[in-house]
Amino acid sequence: MKKILGILGLLVFVCVATALLSDRFLTEFNIENLIRRSALFGIISIGAAFVIITGGIDLSIGSVVCLVGCLFPWMLVEQGLSPPTALAIVAIMSLGIGLSHGLLITKLRLQPFVVTLCGLLIYRGLTRGIVNDQTQGFRGGYTMLRNLSQGQIPLPGTEFGIPNPCLILAVVTVAAAFFLNYTVYGRYLLALGRNEEATRFSGINTQRMVIVAYVICAALSGLGGLLFVLDVGSAQPVDFGSFYELYAIAAAVLGGCSLRGGEGTVLGVVIGAAVMQVLRNSITLIDWIPTNIEYAVIGAVILGGTIVDEVVRRLAAARKAPRADAKDKREDS
């Protein structure tokens, strides 16, 4: 809970600052759009968090988003497949990608960084080859499907509505938080992230759990890709989803995951994803920040947050240490 407070504070701070600096922030259109984008990024960030909790990394998230985001409309429009068939194919593709990452990392003991870096290159390259670099879109059709991302549940009595991706995120968040905190498998993931060997010596099949984490990550990346393309309506294979893995990893780290593994809360990661999106939004809205330094601003904020977090942790540890010493002495005597 303490971890979430920090990131929640950062979110509130960025929101308030942007609202004060730009009168376009608190408009209905902007807020709704912001929530939708945050929800979409929240979904892929949860996926990244699962892998990071095992002490691994997934760099292929953006390319999986691209693969699904381009091939889904391509299958519907260019190949004339029915929506259920196309959905089944992208689902199998995503799960297969996660499974192959997991198998390569556990059975062949390849490094996660290398495996998923190759994935990043392979999936984007394949996508560009398959659709021949042509932008893929729904051409105004499939409104029912697109409603999944674009629609909203109206709040009675107001003009506002909750964007559908927000509901999907809520379901994913609850499921992920339940899995991580209330099932034995979530406990296995946290334990093996901290000490794989001791977890294995406790009779737990750690390889299987690592594979599960990569499958979850790829599945959520695929779901994200699907919702992203349904939202914007078309996907350009050269840059659709590019850098999204870095947004997802940054959100996970902001949300309290340690890249050393074994740490992280789902809610924190969701808030972390929101912080990233509000930051991007504020750079667009605030006139005196040039838009082209977006990455520099985001980088600086994440770095600043991490430094503050580390300093606070050290101060807390330093204050605790003398008391712990005193207690040890009592126990010894």
Partner: protein, 510 residues
């Protein structure tokens, strides 16, 4: 066994009345030693006798608390390995300290590369390296990558490196521990040659046959003190063993006699990946405590891990209560009633940053899960409370991170996490390593209570007193092989040592 030192040549290195403490452990107490040129001086002793500490002090790795070192009769302070090297004292590490991604020449001259115009003079390295490689009889080009050499060859590179810095005193720590017999013979020939050329060699080993073959004099350490010194003509197997052991242990821990029942754990033809050439057979009965003795590297940990199934054995099988366990699957072994308290508490036994409760609950999560997946937190809390009470684990709360507990309490958490599983057979690897005397006694009492309740116990220990006073049966291993079993009156320090150093039961006369 005289204390008289031969006066043939002046000592190059002397250790005078050196003392060293680590926390509560007195590692060395008033140790004196004289190392002379042209002689091989063997230092022997059991695990924990103080051999490594003494050697590190001589090589400048550690500073003594009191006492002094003399080089060529003049007192010196060796504040670093560099300082020791400056006096010609070089340590050949047990774990080799070479960069295996660099070539032989680069390793020999690492940090002292000859330079020309600011760049490395490779021609000079090649020539000089060749000279030192010839001196140690290693016939490989200096531009061979160290990673491509055998362990024996790498060792020779280490010796060549020591010679290249003007090493006059070569300290060799268990140099033969990972060599084949042929490589050992070759190494001994080099040692003989270096000695004849006037080098002083300090040879640390627990292999008595090697000491007999090489040593001109022997110093025996026991519990941090000099137990005795032997000259060339006095060195034989019996005199060495007698000095290494010979301690009253009757007061160590008094066990109550108890009944031993039917076989619980049956290991048949088990071959570990580390020692696939030796098949191990072993039986532990209900209520029986079997001690697994042997020197460091005898293959005991590997055997326990293979029995438990956390390592996959090459061949053989394990039965628990007559039921065959699937090989290499520790989950199945745990559910059948097997448990392992591993050797490395911090790495294998515990997840240090996590709570006492989380650690104790971990093995049982799968057994107690609700509806196939959900954590049974109540059961976890109950098991934890039960274990904290039963084992008297001192912790401020079940939520306390294990890393904040003392070593003894951490070990109790490891044992507790397995007792919560109600095992039929408990495997323990060095159950009292790194815990204080009080916690040791508690762990012994606990082991005895478990045995009285009918649990079969198999424990590996490097502490002689522990093995002798706790075991109904002692199984002695040497290089992956069971050398013999000892029961009752046969269980003596001498008999264990004899088997542990590679002799068979037939020659012990027991």
């Amino acid at each position: 066994m005289s204390d008289a030192q031969p006066t043939s040549s002046a000592p190059v290195l002397e250790v005078e009345d050196v003392t060293k403490r680590f926390g509560g452990v007195q590692a060395l107490r008033g140790v004196s030693l004289a190392i002379r040129p042209g002689r091989v001086h063997a230092v022997i002793g059991e695990n924990g006798a103080g051999k490594s500490t003494l050697m590190k002090i001589m090589a400048g790795v550690l500073a003594p608390d009191s006492g002094r070192l003399l080089v060529d009769g003049r007192p010196v302070e060796l504040r670093s390995v560099q300082a020791a090297l400056g006096h010609g004292i070089a340590l050949i590490h047990q774990e080799l300290n070479l960069c295996d991604n660099l070539d032989v020449g680069a390793n020999i001259f690492l940090g002292r590369e000859p330079r020309r115009w600011g760049t490395i003079d490779f021609a000079a390295i090649g020539q000089d390296a060749k000279k030192y490689l010839d001196a140690v009889g290693l016939n490989v080009p200096p531009d061979t990558l160290v990673g491509e050499l055998t362990i024996a060859q790498q060792q020779l590179v280490e010796i060549a490196k020591a010679l290249s810095v003007g090493g006059r005193v070569l300290i060799m720590d268990e140099p033969t521990s990972s060599l084949s017999q042929r490589e050992v013979d070759a190494l001994f020939a080099i040692i003989d040659k270096l000695r004849d050329e006037g080098a002083a060699i300090v040879y640390i080993s627990h292999r008595l046959a090697e000491v007999q073959r090489l040593a001109d004099e022997v110093t025996v350490l026991r519990d941090g003190e000099i137990a005795g010194r032997l000259q060339r003509h006095e060195i034989n197997h019996d005199s060495l063993v007698q000095l290494m052991v010979g301690r009253d242990i009757s007061q160590f821990y008094a066990r109550r006699p108890h009944e031993v029942g039917e076989p619980v754990l049956e290991v048949r033809g088990l071959r570990t990946q580390a020692w696939p050439q030796h098949a191990v057979d072993l039986t532990v009965r209900r209520g029986e405590m079997v001690g697994l003795a042997g020197l460091v590297g005898a293959g005991r940990s590997e055997l326990l891990r293979a029995i438990f199934g956390v390592d996959v054995p090459v061949a053989g099988h394990v039965r628990l209560h007559g039921k065959l366990l699937p090989t290499g699957r520790c989950r199945a072994a745990i559910e059948a009633g097997l448990a392992l308290v591993p050797e490395d508490r911090k790495q294998q036994g515990l997840i240090l940053p996590m709570a006492v409760r989380t650690n104790i609950g971990l093995p049982g999560l799968a057994r107690h899960k609700i509806a196939g997946a959900i954590l049974n937190r109540r059961r976890e809390a109950e098991d934890t409370r039960r274990m904290i009470d039963a084992m008297r684990i001192k912790t401020s709360s079940p939520r306390q991170a294990v890393q904040n507990l003392s070593g003894g309490n951490q070990q109790k958490v490891v044992i507790g996490k397995w007792l919560a599983m109600d095992p039929w057979c408990l495997l323990l690897d060095e159950p009292t390593r790194g815990v204080d005397i009080g916690a040791k006694q508690e762990i012994y009492r606990l082991m005895e209570e478990l045995a009285e309740r009918g649990v079969a116990i198999l424990f590996a220990s490097s502490e002689m007193e522990e093995v002798i006073s706790m075991s109904d049966l002692v199984v002695v291993m040497h290089e992956g092989q069971v050398m013999g079993e000892l029961v009752g009156e046969q269980i003596t320090e001498e008999a264990i040592m004899h088997l542990a150093t590679g002799n068979t039961a037939a020659t012990t006369g027991v």
